[in-house]
């Protein structure tokens, strides 16, 4: 019997805080996939420099948002399902390969959908996509991380 896992408790267990938390809400989550949302507030510091006089969300930040929702939230969920002693897991990004299709401007809300490719030996590898509020593909790729519980 799988334990129910509260979506809010996953967000509270994320090892990030402002200004580097890129998850607002988990919309759906199960053993194989997760869907989450984030709104890029126009006040983010990086918009001052990326780019000068023309703020656009940096690709690395989009990748980070995909990783936080798509790999870390799902990873915490999977650990909580499988092992009750997995409080405050340590997480390491191990690979990312992402292609970008559309820019994200300040104030935009994005949706991240991630599907598990595998979760074995504490490595979680996922196929992750990000969409705009209109449903357009912003970026997609494959991201993997190690969930270290010790």
């Amino acid at each position: 019997m799988l334990k129910p896992v509260d979506q809010k408790s996953i967000i509270s267990q994320l090892p990030y805080s402002q200004p580097f938390l890129f998850v607002d809400e988990i919309l759906e989550i199960d053993e194989n996939s997760v869907t989450g949302e984030y709104t890029f507030s126009a006040g983010q510091e990086f918009y001052k420099g990326h780019f000068k006089d023309s703020p656009i969300t940096p690709g690395v930040i989009l990748t980070e948002c995909m990783a936080q929702i798509g790999v870390v939230c799902l990873g915490i969920f999977l650990l909580k399902k499988s092992d009750s002693d997995s409080e405050n897991p340590k997480i390491a990004l191990s690979s990312s390969e992402v292609e970008y299709f559309k820019p994200v401007y300040p104030g935009e809300t994005v949706k991240v959908i991630s599907e598990k490719i595998y979760f074995r030996f504490n490595k979680l590898k996922c196929k992750v996509e990000m969409f705009s509020s209109k449903g357009e593909l912003i970026c997609k790729g494959t991201i993997a991380g190690m969930m270290l519980t010790k």
């Binding site: 390491a92 191990s94 690979s95 595998y118 074995r120 030996f121 504490n122 490595k123 993997a144 991380g145 190690m146």
Partner: protein, 84 residues
């Protein structure tokens, strides 16, 4: 399957993940995946998944933790094949 056969197949599997090519030239039982081949722990997971597919076996967590060298991997593969 001979020991040499297993080690040859293993070499093909690890090759794409190796960062230190020198270690690959001298691929033998004592070769350490992390130290000699500089495969990181995340890619070692992929090596193990590829080994499972190649030899049609399942590697459990304990076996994975004991798989530090080519010789360790060979022994585990032999044991799993014979218990199949």
């Amino acid at each position: 399957m001979s020991e040499k056969d297993i080690i040859d197949r293993l070499k093909k599997i690890v090759e794409p993940y190796v960062q230190r090519m020198e270690g690959l030239k001298n691929f033998q039982e004592e070769t350490d995946f992390l130290k000699d081949l500089q495969i990181n722990s995340a890619n070692l997971v992929d090596v193990v998944l590829d080994v499972e597919d190649e030899f049609d076996i399942e590697i459990d967590n304990d076996s994975m933790e004991g798989m530090l060298t080519v010789g360790d991997a060979k022994s585990i593969i032999q044991r799993k094949i014979s218990g199949r």
